[in-house]
Symmetry: C2
Subunit: 390 residues, 2 copies
């Protein structure tokens, strides 16, 4: 591997979208509740979101960003007092691949999440206590329902593009299959239309680590004792699957964190220190119940298995860009190809690119030039012509 | 994949080595303690072992079996009252690849293990309490020291072959590098001379699950409350890495354990049920402390990094058979090739085979005909001639 370790830009505030704030809006309320695909109802739904750039007068320059499992609304720019930019800041900003000089970009926290949008740790208005496991099970289509409502709130009924990586790409797929008239373009990155048994297995073990934690208490955490052990174990394990084996070797090899071997069961190898850090920092920004709910939505997602799954999209075709990364073994190129083949069989226009990157699944978060150039070109391309594969 | 799911033979007792017993012997005692590579001393070491077949008068037909991380001395045959044969019964028996009509086979439980050989849950003779984390850290060479002593006890000072898979193969490698005069042949299956960062990462997360379990109590389990949650999580996660992604797909796909989806956080997909079962049954036969000690030996193993690592073996060459499986992503063919190349660079005879098998790392436990035929031929081949690669 010769690719240098990707670094965030030196001064994102100077070059990116600058200071941003996460806003919150109540999109569903008791007199207009959110009716979920599974039949349950949520009487209050608040959504955290950010926007970058400006909506033009014809409201036809809007792009929706769907985040992955552990993302949030803060996709780009800087929050006051924080040094770390949004999670997709290298992609979104003035002059960047998703160019905020041209596009109006909307990013929201998922329903069921824990970064400002209503989720299982929110207060249940009926009891005044957190929902816990009384929060209803969610479906991929519920995310789409909430995204569409946020669009209405912002005056956007049609999207130039809807873009997402990993779980984000699954939302994009669900959205285009059920409401293709909402968008011109769909960008699905490192995504899947159907988890494999191995995918489910990794998520299942993470969930078991959480649910078997002594503090889990069937989802009713007592005195703020949260299942931190389980959640950090789940995160450490998942993180291994987000990187390629070669990336681990290149980044850590067999080097020792403190120079010489310490020989014991504590942290010794550098890779152990890295995973420990991943597990610990995750606790500061994520919630064990959201981890259960969101991973379970992914397990059950299998939209092509539905009768007439492609009928609506065939009536109102959306241009698709599907991107995979060659070393991604969590959501492999084979999974992206399956989406491509299925859409093509219904004569939906698809551009497919497998991007070479040594970094595995997390490549979708990294500033890889051919990857970003592909997205830029697809967003700016003015319709017509031939879909391509590479 | 067209390979059928491997099944144990219908009536192993009838065809295999028949009824066997695990025996125990004290190989080191206070007046002759085991001095470990790390400098510590064990004043009492009991070893559990089994033998199959008969040692001939010249004592030159003996084969030593080294087990993997979670194996034990019971490699072949049946214990009274048990229906399940030993873990390598398909390989070892009359007429089988390791033919007990011809070879005298010895299999022992590892030092640090939990199936009859002294380990961290054994009683510390100095305190009358279990060792816990006072048990000394082990080194791969300590396993070899104990294996050699068992050989002496059984009247075997020279082995026709030493055979092992996974961690077992690591023991074989250590043994031939340090005492090549002990053996004619070495068989290393699905093994490694040096774990990768990803290998270490998976083991590290398993250990963290154990050590962060509320019952771990720094290794001093109270009132028989053992860290079962952590150990079962470690096992479930590790088990995912022992199978190929395709094997998971073929075996489980997205099928539901109870026919229709149950939609919740309990066991729903068949793969969840399988992992849960793996985690639970593991608790009945394995010990959390042994898991820590044995995985840590693997992390630190890196024999080719030692000065003059190959000098002894060059003076007394051993014929090597190195076998990998094409879908093994835990100890990949690349890792076996590294051993092959390193030995060959020292002009040690090596036969290398990559066996096609859809089952991943666990293939080494399965009755795959070309795999067993290769071992049989290698054991029966009468020296001389050319090493081969495929």
């Amino acid at each position: 591997m010769t690719t240098p370790d990707p670094k965030p830009t030196a001064d994102p505030a100077a070059e990116g979208v600058g200071l941003v704030e996460t806003r919150s809006v109540q999109l569903f309320a008791r007199d207009d509740p959110l009716r979920l695909a599974g039949g349950a109802r949520l009487d209050e739904v608040d959504v955290a979101y950010e926007t970058y750039g400006h909506l033009n007068e014809t409201a036809d320059n809007a792009i929706y960003i769907c985040h992955a499992l552990t993302g949030d609304a803060h996709a780009a720019g800087l929050h006051v007092g924080e040094a770390r930019p949004g999670w997709w800041d290298n992609l979104i900003g003035p002059g960047r691949a998703i160019d905020t000089d041209r596009w109006f970009v909307v990013s929201s926290n998922l329903l069921g999440g824990c970064q400002g949008t209503t989720g299982p740790s929110s207060t249940n208005p009926e009891t005044g206590e957190p929902f816990g496991l009384d929060f209803p099970l969610l479906d991929m289509s519920d995310f789409v329902t909430v995204h569409r409502r946020l669009g209405e709130h912002l005056g956007v009924r049609h999207w130039h593009a809807v873009v997402g990586g990993s779980l984000g790409g699954m939302q994009v797929l669900e959205w285009e299959l059920t409401h293709p008239e909402d968008m011109d373009r769909a960008v699905l990155i490192a995504s899947s239309s159907r988890l494999t048994a191995q995918n489910i297995a990794f998520s299942a073990v993470g969930r078991q680590a959480i649910m078997r934690d002594e503090n889990f208490q069937n989802g009713r955490f007592v005195d703020e004792r949260t299942p931190d052990v389980g959640l950090s174990i789940a995160r450490m394990m998942a993180h291994i699957t987000y990187m390629s084996e070669d990336a681990f070797t290149e980044k850590f090899g067999r080097s020792h964190q403190y120079g010489a071997p310490s020989r014991g069961f504590g942290i010794d190898f550098a890779v152990e220190s890295y995973l420990d850090h991943q597990g610990e920092t995750f606790l500061t920004r994520f919630d064990a119940l959201s981890y259960l709910y969101l991973t379970r939505v992914m397990d059950y997602f299998d939209p092509f298995s539905r009768p007439d799954a492609l009928a609506r999209l065939q009536q109102s075709p959306v241009s698709n860009l599907i991107i995979s990364f060659d070393t991604d073994w969590r959501f492999s190129t084979a999974q992206s190809r399956r989406i491509m083949r299925t859409l093509e069989s219904a004569r939906i226009p698809v551009t497919f690119r497998e991007i070479q990157s040594p970094w595995g699944h997390d490549s979708f978060l990294l500033p890889i030039e051919p990857y970003h150039a592909t997205i830029r070109a697809f967003l700016e391309y003015d319709g017509g012509g031939q879909a391509t594969h590479e």
